[in-house]
Every structure is written in structure tokens, then in C-alpha cells.
Symmetry: C2
């Protein structure tokens, strides 16, 4: 499958590289088509990898991942272009962490809305699926890094899009995939971040994940 | 031990009754010393149970539990009286769920503050410990209701108070008690509520809990 990955940070690079290892063609998108991190990523990742602008990556992908910093995601997606996202599954992995007040960060959208909801509202013809935002990047694509049972959440309005994302998650090795319903559940998924950050501090490792016992 | 429990809802009644079964003397506090639910609770619970006003319960307790509705907790604690809380461990179990916008509720304090932090600020001579707010009341006092490993979080500024709460939690049967640090971690613990509510909907039971796998 052709997959566009928006964002050249650790999350985009990690997800993109993992997708190429699974045999997908991945184009990493950045604000500039000449992005240095993306150029290096392509050289390191091999034949299934390419890079370009946000728009290049979005038009290339049959599925598109939003791995940009959450506070800049809406701007990045506007650069990607609504036409390039129309009818496609848009996997929103981002968290709108706002460090302008210092540490710990706050969420620039929460409680009465969420980044996932705002993206769906701004791009009504895309099928937004929120997923993978509640864990470290390495775990997203390799759940075996964490021992025992643990879970990935997803939500979105389109059943077909959620089925497509579920299939990709299974290919990463996920067994426990919890569908929380429509895109408004992104609010809860994103509001998990503050306790995630405290757990990182308490456990002294980011290699942990949530499991729902019941 | 003498324990005051503020709030006559299901959380206060459940915690209070469980504490009497563990041999503690429990006084359930309400806005009115003549509260009907509290009167019935005492009749049902037996010799270790008594009831009274918020102030009666707080002055009675060596440890005090805040089990009032979160949006009314600061008012209830003012009625309990700062003098009656001075130097005591105050276990804050509440969530400031605001239903005024309908369902799902929002949090009346979050992101830049939390109920736990606001209570600590308003009652600086009490030792506030946030705990037990991330699960159903039945599970709070009986973790065996949920199979497998699962966790209770706590946070607070006073190490002695956290040790006292840890001992009570162990007496309820808790084995996995995760100390998230000072009272500012209440922000993360309370912001878990929106995903908790979605999980209740997805799993169709409130008898689940979070486990941190690592």
C-alpha cells in the first residue's frame, strides 16, 4: 500500500520506517520538500522510502498518518491539502502539547474539544481515526517492547477507516485494540497525556503502556 | 482509627462501610446532620458507623476522605472547616464532573489546575492525597472484582500522609499502588475521567481498571 506520513520527528520516522519493513511504500512529508531529516531518513530506510512536501506525501498516500506536532497539525494538514485527503483514512497520532507555559505542558485543545475532533471538523471529507497517541513511538510499532497484555485505543466516525487502521495495527503486532467509538472519544484519548507524562517520571522509563483489566 | 467520610453518595457509603468492616470507626458527613441517606447508612452498617454534619465528620476523623461531588467539594470542605482538617491526611477521591453542558460531562477544573491542587491550595494545613478517583466505587474497596493485575494511583505533597493512605489501600486489598509524586499529578489523574467514561461505554461495564504494563 502507498502510505503518506506527515511529520519528520521521531514518531513519523518510526512509523514510516516500520511501514516500509512491512512492505508498504512510504512517503515522508515535511513543510519543505528539501527537509534534511527526511532526506537522511530516506537514505537510512531504503528502497520503499521517499520524501516530499506535506502535499506530496498526502497525495501519494492511500492512507495518511498525521505525525506532526499537535499544536501545528491543522496548519500542516492545510498545507497537505483537503483535496489530497478527501475520502482517505487519516490516522491522527498527534497530541497538542503546548510547552509555552513551561513544563509540564498543557493541552492546547481539551475538555470541550480535542485535536482529533478539530481535524475531523476542518477536513470533513477525510476519515479521521485517532490512534497510537497514548504511548512512546517505539512501542507504537513494536508492542512486544512492553511485557504482558497492554492496549491501543482508537476512535473515529468511519467503520471502514477504523477497520483499515485495525489491520495496520495488527501488522505492527497489536492484539488488544480497543475501539472507543466516534471521533469525540479523541478527547479522552488526548487527555490521558498528563498522566502518561507523570508515569514516565514515576517509572523512569517511557517504555510502559496502559492495559484495561476487566 | 477514627475516619471521617464527607459525602453520602455511593462512593462515600462504599468507602465508609468498607472501613467499618476493617474495624475503623467511621463518621459519614453531610451538609445536614439529619441527612436521610446517612441515617439509613448508619442503620445498615452497624456499630462502628455514625453520621453528622461535614464539620462533625471532619472533627471526628484522624483521617478524612473527600467523597463529595467534585464540583461541590470546595464548598463542602469549607463547611467541614479548615480547623477540623489541620494537620490531617485528607484523601481526595472526587472528580469535578460538570454535567451542565450535558453528556459527556466536562471537567470544571483541568489542564492548568485540578480539584486536588485547588483543595490543597485552599487548605494548606491539610495533607491532601489524591487517590482512587480513576475507578468505580466497588473496585476502590475490592480490587479483586477486576481480574489480573491493575493499579491505583496516588499523589500528594506529604510523604507521611501518602504512607498512611498506602496502608489503608493495602487493607482494601490493593497490591499495585503507583505514587505519581506531588499533588500536581492530580491533574493527570483527574484528566483520565473522559477516557474512563468512554471505556465504560465501550466495555459495557464499569468493572474495569487501568494497569500500567512495563
Amino acid at each position: 500500500m502507498r502510505i503518506g506520513v506527515l511529520g519528520t520527528g521521531i514518531v513519523g520516522q518510526t512509523i514510516g520506517a516500520s511501514l516500509t519493513r512491512l512492505g508498504h511504500d512510504v512517503r515522508l512529508g515535511a513543510r519543505s520538500a528539501m527537509n534534511e531529516k527526511a532526506t537522511k531518513w530516506v537514505a537510512d530506510t531504503g528502497e520503499y522510502a521517499s520524501h516530499g512536501s506535506f502535499s506530496d506525501a498526502a497525495s501519494f498516500g492511500e492512507i495518511v498518518f498525521n505525525c506532526t506536532a499537535g499544536t501545528g497539525s491543522l496548519e500542516a494538514l492545510r498545507a497537505a491539502g483537503a483535496d489530497n485527503l478527501r475520502g482517505k483514512t487519516l490516522v491522527d497520532v498527534a497530541n497538542a502539547l503546548d510547552f509555552s507555559r513551561g513544563i509540564p505542558p498543557t493541552l492546547s485543545m481539551c475538555n470541550t474539544t480535542s485535536l482529533g475532533e478539530e481535524i475531523q471538523a476542518a477536513f470533513p471529507d477525510a476519515h479521521v481515526v485517532k490512534a497510537l497517541n497514548t504511548m512512546n513511538a517505539a512501542i507504537m510499532v513494536n508492542p512486544l517492547l512492553v511485557p504482558g497484555e497492554h492496549d491501543v485505543f482508537l476512535c473515529g466516525n468511519d467503520h471502514g477507516a477504523k477497520a483499515a487502521v485495525t489491520e495496520l495495527l495488527r501488522s505492527f503486532g497489536w492484539r488488544n485494540i480497543v475501539d472507543l467509538g466516534d471521533i469525540t472519544a479523541a478527547r479522552g484519548m488526548e487527555m490521558v497525556l498528563p498522566v502518561w507524562l507523570r508515569l514516565w517520571g514515576a517509572l523512569k522509563t517511557p517504555h510502559f503502556n496502559f492495559h484495561i483489566a476487566y
